[in-house]
Amino acid sequence: MSESVNNREPLLDISGLEVHFETRRGIARAVNEVDLTLYKGERFGLVGESGSGKTTMILALLRMIKTPGFIAGGKAVFDDGTDLLALNAEQVRQTRLKRVAMVPQGAMNSLNPVIRIGEQMMLTMREHGEEGERDELMARVVGLLEKVGLKPEAASLYPHELSGGMKQRACIAQAICLNPQLILADEPTSALDVVVQRQIMQTLRQLQIGLDATVLLVGHDMGLMAQFAERVGIMYGGKLVEVGTVSDIFRNPQHPYTQLLISSIPSFETRGDFKGIPGVALSLLDPPSGCLFHPRCPKATDACAQREPTLKEVSPGQWASCLLHEEEHDATAS
C-alpha cells in the first residue's frame, strides 16, 4: 500500500504492528499485525466494535502502552525515515505534540483543574523548548484559541469554568500548538451532545485542512465517520480487516464483517428491529483458528477455519482481508 491515494504522499507507514497484553490467562494480541499507510493531509477513520484494538493502536503510535501491555513488534516509519517505535524515551517525548498530537476522549477531565487554560498551554509550549516572552507566548495562545472558536478571555479561565464543548476546543487548541503532522483523535466527541459534536468535528476539519495535517479519527458513530473521513479502516479482533475510501466502504463493502457493520447502521426504512452482527465478540485470549471472524461469518467456508487471510487489494484503493477475495485473487492471478 505504498502508492499514493489521491496523489498524496505517504506520511506514516505502519507495518506489522503488534501490541500484546500479558494477562494471567495468557497473552492477548490486542493489535495484530496491522499494516496501514497514512497519507499527508488525509482524514482517516478507524472503526470497529468495542475491544477491537483501536485505542490500543493509537496509544502504540504515541508510545503510551503501559504494563501489562507492550509493543511486541512492527514499525511506524515517518516520511523522513524516523521509526516511531524505535525512538528512545526523550525522543518520544519530543515527538509527542510536535509530530504526533492527541485529542483526548474525555475532555471533561483532560485539563489540569488548578492551572488556567492559557497558562497550561504556555507550559506545554515551554516544555517543548518554545522560548519567548510571556506576552509573545500568550499572543500565540490567544491565536490558537481563536482558531478553535474560543474567545481570548478563555485563556484566563480555569477548566471548570468552561463547558464540555469548550474544554474539548481548548484541548484541540493545545493539540495543534506545535503544528503536528499527525493528529490522533480517539472518540473526541463521544461525551458531547450531537450539535456540539458536529461543530467540533467541523472545527477539527478546518484546522486539519489549514495545517495540512493527517487526522486519525477513532469512533463508533458511522454517520460522523461518513461525513468526516476520506478513508476508513475497519478493525476486528486487533486486525485491520478492510481499508478503503469512505464511499467504497459504505457503498461497496468487501469484507463480510464490514458488510454486516454497514447494514446494521439504523435508518428509517429498517426502523423497529435492531440489526446486529450474530454471535459474540471473540476472546483475544482464545482466538479461533484461521480467520478471526469465521465463527460469526455468514459466508464462512471450511477453508476459513484453516487459513489466515491477509489484506489484499480487491479493487483500486480498497483492501480486504478475506479468503473469499483471496480465492478470486488467486483465480485471476493464475
Binding site: 498530537a101 483532560s110 489540569n112 488548578v114
Partner: protein, 336 residues
C-alpha cells in the same frame, strides 16, 4: 473571595473563641459549694499549724482582690474582657508570674521546634508518599515509603525514647534534654542559635520520623487516584517532562486534601506533642501544660487550653482563606 465572606468568617472565629472562653469560665463554677480560695487557705492553715480565726477575713480579702465578690454576670463580663485582651491572670503555682507571660515565653520554643518538625515531616512524607504511588518513579524511591509507614505506627514519645537512648545516651552525639545548654546566655548570638539547633535535633527527629509515614500514607492514596486522571494521561501524551507532570499535574492536585490535614495538625502541635516536649524537657508549651497539670495550676491550664482553641480556630480560618487559592474550584463568592 470577597469582604463579605471574610467578615463573616472572622465573626465565626470570634464566636468560637467566645464559646471556648465561656466554657472555661462556667465549667469550674459548676462544682457546687467548692471554694478554691477557702480550701487553699484551709490547707495552708492546717499544714502550717496556724489558727483558723483570720481565715474568713483573708477569704474575703482575696475574693475582693480577684473580683469574686461581684455578681456572677459582672465576673463573666470581666473574664470575657480579659480573655479578648489576652489577659489570662496569675499563675496559681508560680504567683506572681502571669499566665500570659509564661505562655508567651514558651510559644517561640514550641513553634520553633514543633511547627518546623511538623512541616519537615509533612514535606518529606508528602513527597515520599507521592513518589511511592507514581508509576514512573524509580523502584528504590517507591519502596522508601514502607519503612516510614512502619515507623508511623510507633507513637512519637516511644520514638523519642528510642532516639534518646541510641543517639543521646549511647552515641552521645546530642544533648539529652533542654532547649539550650544550662549557663548559656540566651541572647541572639550565633553560638546560642547553634546550641539551640543542636538541642532540637533529637526531639525533631522523633516527630519527623513519626510524621513522615502518616503523611506518606495519605498522599499515596491520593496520588494513586490522581495518576490515573485524564489530565495526567494527556500531559504525558503532550510530551511534558516527567518531572513537570509529577509536580504540577500529579502532586499539585493530589495534595489538596493534605492541606486540610496539615492545618489541623499544625493547630494541634501544642497538644499533640506534649509528651515529646516533656521527655526532652523542652521549654515549650507542652512542658508548661504538663507542669501546670502536676501542680493543679488551674489558671495556667485554662490559659493553655484557651490558646489551643484559639490557634485551632485561627488556623482553620486561615485554611479557609487559603483554600480558594490552592483549588480554584472552591470559591467563597457563591455563598452569598
Amino acid at each position: 473571595m470577597n469582604w463579605n465572606y471574610i467578615v463573616r468568617r472572622v465573626a465565626l472565629f470570634l464566636v468560637v473563641v467566645w464559646a471556648a472562653a465561656s466554657v472555661n469560665f462556667f465549667v469550674p463554677r459548676l462544682g457546687t459549694g467548692r471554694d478554691p480560695i477557702r480550701e487553699k487557705l484551709g490547707q495552708l492553715a492546717a499544714s502550717g499549724g496556724l489558727r483558723q480565726d483570720g481565715i474568713e477575713a483573708m477569704v474575703k480579702a482575696y475574693q475582693a482582690k480577684f473580683g469574686l465578690d461581684k455578681p456572677l454576670y459582672v465576673q463573666y463580663l470581666n473574664f470575657l474582657g480579659d480573655t479578648f485582651t489576652l489577659d489570662l491572670g496569675y499563675s496559681l503555682a508560680n504567683y506572681p508570674a502571669r499566665v500570659g507571660q509564661m505562655i508567651g515565653n514558651a510559644i517561640p520554643w514550641t513553634i520553633g521546634l514543633m511547627v518546623v518538625s511538623v512541616l519537615i515531616g509533612f514535606a518529606l512524607g508528602t513527597l515520599i508518599g507521592a513518589l511511592s504511588a507514581w508509576p514512573n518513579a524509580p523502584p528504590w524511591v517507591r519502596s522508601l515509603a514502607v519503612p516510614f509507614m512502619t515507623l508511623s505506627a510507633i507513637p512519637p514519645y516511644l520514638l523519642g525514647l528510642i532516639v534518646l537512648y541510641i543517639l543521646g545516651l549511647k552515641m552521645q552525639w546530642f544533648p539529652l534534654s533542654g532547649g539550650y545548654s544550662p549557663g548559656m546566655l540566651a541572647i541572639a548570638s550565633v553560638d546560642f542559635y547553634l546550641d539551640v539547633l543542636h538541642h532540637s535535633i533529637l526531639p525533631a527527629l522523633a516527630i519527623v520520623l513519626q510524621a513522615v509515614g502518616f503523611w506518606a500514607l495519605g498522599m499515596r492514596g491520593m496520588m494513586v487516584t490522581t495518576s490515573g486522571e485524564d489530565y495526567v494521561t494527556l500531559a504525558e501524551a503532550n510530551g511534558l517532562r516527567n518531572r513537570t507532570i509529577f509536580f504540577r499535574y500529579g502532586l499539585r492536585n493530589a495534595m489538596l486534601p493534605q492541606f486540610t490535614a496539615l492545618g489541623l495538625s499544625l493547630a494541634n502541635v501544642v497538644a499533640g506533642q506534649v509528651i515529646v516536649e516533656v521527655i526532652f524537657a523542652y521549654p515549650g508549651i507542652g512542658t508548661v501544660l504538663f507542669q501546670a497539670i502536676q501542680s493543679s495550676d488551674y489558671t495556667v491550664i485554662n490559659g493553655v487550653v484557651l490558646i489551643l482553641i484559639m490557634s485551632i480556630g485561627l488556623v482553620t480560618m486561615l485554611m479557609d482563606f487559603l483554600y480558594p487559592l490552592l483549588d480554584p474550584r472552591i470559591s467563597h463568592s457563591r455563598q452569598n
